[in-house]
Amino acid sequence: MMNRPKTNLGVTIGKLRLANPIICASGTFGFGEELRGFVDFGSVGAIATKTITLEPRAGNPPPRIFETECGVINSVGLENPGVDKFISEKLKAMREIDTKFIISVGGGSIFEYSKIVQRLDETKDVDAIEVNLSCPNIKNKKIVSQDKKETYKVVKALRKVTSKTLIAKITPEVSDIVSVAVAAQDAGADALALVNTFFAMAINIETAKPYIGNIYGGYSGPAIKPMSLYRVWRVASVVKIPVIGGGGITDADAAIEFLLAGATAVSLGTVNLVYPNKAKEVLAGIIEYMRRKNIKDINKLRGSMNV
């Protein structure tokens, strides 16, 4: 048998070693276990769970989702069972799935963020923690990552309470995303995830009512891809820590663009709602591209945009 050199697809995010660079984005893949029997988890490098908070949250008033011309507006509002129930009810079922888990956490204050990260730090089965500093769907709460000083403060506080891989997920809705990214890096984040959704709304002109119960929501899907790509490129060109890039990825070509722009891993969000098994197809496409371009190691692809 001929011994062909194997393609290396593995990437490293902090202490987390992923078998491949595909991450299913927070809020679009549940806790993973709901999709057992439906999804080939071998193609999923990691699952970022739906954001959990210290206390259970009921979420925002419906309707919570609306499709426009080229994207999707959502306003789920972090509906989740709370960290205790997550640990007692979800984690065990998740452990039976052969992939890595990034637990996404949200909070209304540094205190809340610290408490929940502390809880997860003490929990054996948690691979990594992603701090959602960018949810657009909490009323009367400022988005932490719209302010670089706040971002620094929160990440710094969390760095003190966990030695696990800490990922800061930041908003694209800021005038200088690079300075926010750098603040998170300087405060000790192991990696960055971007982008979260853009603010958006839609109005039914017949009833004159907004389509989203909470009036506005976060925009995702194909429409945001060029804007996400730009931001990922800007950030990845400056920071030294890995960037999980995404926003609008629907196929392998788009994923490869993010890798070329400097992302270490890519995230699939909205597309999972339609094709839960998309990771498999995207991974196959990346492998095919690497063969075609004679790239043996995915890490060689990173940031190799030709300018």
């Binding site: 809020g27 679009t28 549940g30 709901e34 994207g71 339609v274 839960p276």
Partner: protein, 270 residues
């Protein structure tokens, strides 16, 4: 029931009213696994999300979907041609709970009344339910199933002949009075409830606009002898219960239409 992602070929799309179409395709899996009230999540070309549609009826291996053009997705779907491919996840949702009379309870057996209430395109899932009833509840008590159809006018009345053929007793209400009674199915429902024998247990099954459910609920105030299941709609994300997008408000907090529903007990809502 286990939802699966399947690809099917359009067998036929026929226009049944100005803006109502009947889609059919073959899928052994969906035909075998679907229950009345289940829905299919269909990916239509050049939309982003899937679109939910009820199983309208099943005949052998063939599945039928009855839909009205509402916006872009349904418009595109109506233009599909025979042989084109559809990507479907299904069957999804809880479905109607079919309450059977206990065979040992003879009083109940004679005193059961099943009324299906359809507002417009809401007849879509009720056809499959009627099919199910007429197949499984084989008794001599005629008519076993009453179905109330509401429409804007005579031209818009859906599925009347087919439901009659199944053996259902069909009553029609139109807003302009061009067929049946003038008014809505609520008027028809009030009549059915007044004219029944005392001691009857009534099961209502309904699909249609939310205002119709609200009006039904008003009639049911204090009527313990009448229960009612309604199939709700909501803008939907994944359809699999993972994204928490398609929630509606119930007495017990937000519930997911795709997973906890789409069928709810009306008394859990108001």
């Amino acid at each position: 029931m286990k939802p699966k992602q399947v690809t099917v070929k359009v067998d036929k799309i026929e226009r049944v009213k100005t803006d109502v179409f009947l889609l059919s395709f073959v899928s052994g899996y969906l035909a075998k696994e679907s229950r009345p009230g289940n829905f299919l999540h269909i990916k239509v070309n050049s939309t982003i999300l899937r679109r939910p549609f009820s199983v309208h009826k099943v005949s052998g291996n063939k599945i039928y979907v009855l839909f009205r053009i509402r916006g872009r997705g349904t418009d595109i779907l109506s233009r599909y041609k025979k042989g084109e491919i559809l990507d479907i996840i299904g069957p999804l949702g809880n479905g109607f709970e079919v309450r059977r009379p206990k065979t040992e309870d003879r009083r109940l057996k004679t005193g059961i009344q099943n009324i299906l209430i359809a507002g417009g395109i809401g007849v879509a899932p009720l056809m499959f339910l009627a099919q199910h009833f007429t197949k499984t509840l084989n008794t001599n008590h005629q008519p076993l199933i009453t179905i109330l159809l509401g429409a804007k006018n005579k031209k818009e009345v859906l599925c009347e002949q087919e439901l009659k053929k199944l053996g259902c007793k069909v009553y029609v209400a139109t807003e302009d009075g061009s067929k049946g009674i003038k008014g809505t199915v609520i008027g028809l429902l009030e009549r059915s409830l007044w004219t029944r024998e005392p001691g009857t247990q009534t099961n209502l099954y309904s699909c249609g606009p939310k205002e119709m459910f609200w009006n039904i609920n008003q009639i049911l105030e204090g009527r313990k002898d009448v229960n009612c299941q309604v199939s709700f709609e909501q803008f939907m994300g994944c359809g699999l219960g993972i994204c928490c997008a398609c929630t509606i408000e119930t007495k017990n907090g937000y519930k997911k239409v795709c997973k906890d529903g789409p069928v709810f007990d009306i008394r859990d809502i108001w």
